[in-house]
């Protein structure tokens, strides 16, 4: 289990029209191992960007991101990929699947690179899918699943290698209350085994005592975006 830290992180995007948006402005964050963090805020406030920067999927323009004693924001990409496999699981908000591979093959794609045999990969993928209420969908193709099912499958993929840190971007969008409860239960189980869980969501509706919440603001004016509100 590892501690995640962000120190003075800045991240900006420039649109095709040349408009520059400062999404993260000097963000500081300290997440001890086992933290359950909600990143909330309206659309466009930078929740996903924060997750991506913390997960090492993109580099900050300035500032530092630490995983334990590793300053990943300044490590070579090859080194970051090794640490990411060891520590991080990411469930994306948008559909990101390998087309025409079955759901269990998508869920267990990382395990293939680890040299795990197909039967074992399938078993582990099915186990994760079952936790999220999708036991019968392992052999389907991703596009045969509904939006909510695909989100759950994405979460199963993020958990299949039992990461130390789970990043889930809008994991319960477009799902019914029952499914949302199942997703929350699984994330709580991961947290209970010691994993740090970072959930980006519009609202921290599952918040429990001890959870942390940061609220992001839309970049309507310079300095207003990407600052934790609470």
């Amino acid at each position: 289990m590892i501690r995640i830290q962000a120190r003075g992180v800045w991240k900006a995007f420039t649109s095709r029209g040349g408009h520059r948006v400062e999404v993260l402005q000097g963000l500081d964050l300290d997440l001890p191992a086992g933290t359950f963090l909600f990143v909330t805020g309206p659309s466009g406030s930078g929740k996903s960007t924060l997750l991506h920067v913390l997960a090492g999927l993109m580099r900050p323009d300035s500032g530092e991101v630490w995983w334990g004693d590793q300053r990943v924001s300044h490590l070579p990409e090859a080194r970051v990929t090794r640490l990411r496999r060891r520590f991080v699981g990411v469930a994306f908000q948008e559909d990101r699947y390998l087309d025409r591979l079955r759901v269990w093959e998508n869920v267990s794609a990382l395990l293939a690179a680890q040299g795990i045999s197909p039967p074992e990969r399938r078993a582990r993928a099915v186990a994760q899918l079952a936790r999220l209420g999708l036991p019968g969908w392992a052999d389907h193709l991703p596009w045969e699943l509904s939006g909510g099912q695909r989100q759950r499958a994405a979460l199963a993929r993020a958990l299949v290698h039992r990461p130390a840190v789970v990043f889930a971007d809008e994991p319960a969008a477009q799902v019914d209350p029952e499914t949302e409860a199942a997703i929350e239960r699984v994330l709580r189980e991961e947290n209970a085994r010691g994993a740090t869980v970072v959930v980006a969501s519009h609202e921290a509706s599952w918040r429990r005592p001890g959870d942390r919440v940061i609220r992001m603001d839309v970049a309507s004016d310079p300095g207003g975006a990407g600052r934790p509100g609470t």
């Binding site: 794609a109 293939a112 690179a113």
Partner: protein
């Protein structure tokens, strides 16, 4: 090792789940490989046939020389050659080219027409003066049949009788030949009492000394002597693919296919970039992403190479090397009368795989590596 195996499995699955991309890549590779393999197959088949003939042929080939070119030698020189120590047999022969029916044919004047009875032929052998045996290709083109008549424009007064038509199976060398008695050939070319070459057989180990003695033989005049090794080297050179129109066409096809492959891979770069981004976000290492691409393209190359060998074989085997054979055998038409000799071995398959791998990897490794070393969400194909 097991991770390589599993990544290899995934590479195979990628080929299946992108059938269009796989088909276009294999098609581009085949466009380069098939003419290459078919051409090499024919070249090797012809070379083997020539070597077989050479193995059964003479030890020395003696021709006259005048002003640096080959020239006839007097027939009487045969006795002088026979007198050289080590020589066991001397056979005179006339070989020349002559137009017949608008086609340039090889005329072969043989000293012992009866010896041709063993050659597969439709009709009969050379039994009477004025008889000729005609190659299958020539007979087909000129509509010649046994008992038909034949004249050469260079000497229309001499009328020959087609005694028989050589079967195509006699060998590709025979397709465009007119065989006649040596006296008839000498008369046709106005070289009575002369031959174009002597075929000389010598005792084992006497080849060099006999050649030296022949060069200094009084009364023979200036001669050119080729031994079996030299002729073998010429055969190897002659059937190589290092020069000529075939090579030019092959490199043109190679360049086009490489260009097409780059275009295809360029079009699929966005999709490829999306996949690489996802795999890396899931935890794949840079070198694993690269290995996946290498194995995927390697499998595609293997598939294309194996398919190309099959297509090339079908082209030169059942397809008789249509459109291709004339580049290797002068005078052959676009559609040969029978199958041309060819030879495919494991080395050709290996060469095909190596070439295909070179093409695909050159088109994919660098772009993949450039994508793989970027953070996953900063990949912009």
């Amino acid at each position: 090792m097991s991770s390589v195996l599993e990544i290899g499995r995934m590479a195979g699955a990628n080929l299946i789940r992108h059938p269009f991309r796989t088909a276009v890549v294999c098609g581009c590779l085949a466009a380069a490989l098939v003419p290459f393999l078919a051409g090499l197959g024919i070249a090797r088949g012809l070379e083997r046939e020539a070597r077989v003939s050479l193995g059964a042929g003479a030890d020395l080939y003696v021709t006259g020389e005048a002003f640096g070119r080959t020239a006839p030698v007097p027939m009487e020189a045969a006795d002088a050659i026979r007198s050289v120590p080590g020589v066991v047999r001397v056979v005179p022969r006339i070989t020349a080219r002559a137009y017949v029916g608008g086609r340039l044919a090889v005329v072969l004047g043989v000293a012992d027409p009866g010896a041709w009875s063993g050659v597969p032929v439709q009709g009969r052998g050379l039994e009477r003066p004025g008889d000729v045996l005609v190659g299958a290709e020539l007979a087909r083109d000129l509509g010649l049949r046994p008992r038909g008549l034949l004249t050469f424009p260079r000497n229309p007064a001499e009328v020959f009788t087609v005694a028989g038509v050589l079967a195509p199976e006699a060998g590709v060398w025979s397709w465009n030949v007119v065989v006649m008695a040596m006296e008839d050939a000498a008369s046709l070319f106005g070289r009575t009492g002369q031959v174009t070459e002597f075929l000389v057989w010598v005792r084992p180990g006497f080849s060099d000394t006999a050649a030296s003695r022949l060069l200094a033989l009084p009364g023979l005049g200036p001669v050119r002597i080729q031994d079996r090794q030299l002729v073998a080297a010429l055969v190897r050179e002659g059937y190589g693919t290092a020069g000529g129109l075939f090579t030019a066409l092959f490199w043109a096809a190679f360049a086009c296919s490489l260009l097409a492959l780059w275009v295809v891979l360029g079009f699929s770069a966005r999709e490829r970039g999306r996949e690489i981004s996802l795999l890396k976000a899931l935890g794949w290492h840079n070198e694993e992403v690269l290995l996946l691409t290498v194995l995927e393209n390697g499998l595609a190359a293997l598939l294309a190479a194996a398919g190309s060998v099959l297509v090339a074989w079908a082209w030169v085997g059942p397809g008789r090397g249509v459109f291709l054979a004339p580049y290797f055998v002068r005078g052959l038409p676009v559609v040969p009368v029978a199958g041309v000799p060819y030879r495919f071995g494991p080395d050709l398959l290996l060469a095909a795989v190596a070439l295909a791998e070179t093409i695909t990897l050159s088109a994919s490794v660098v772009p993949t590596w450039r994508l793989a070393v970027r953070p996953p969400l900063e990949v912009r194909p």
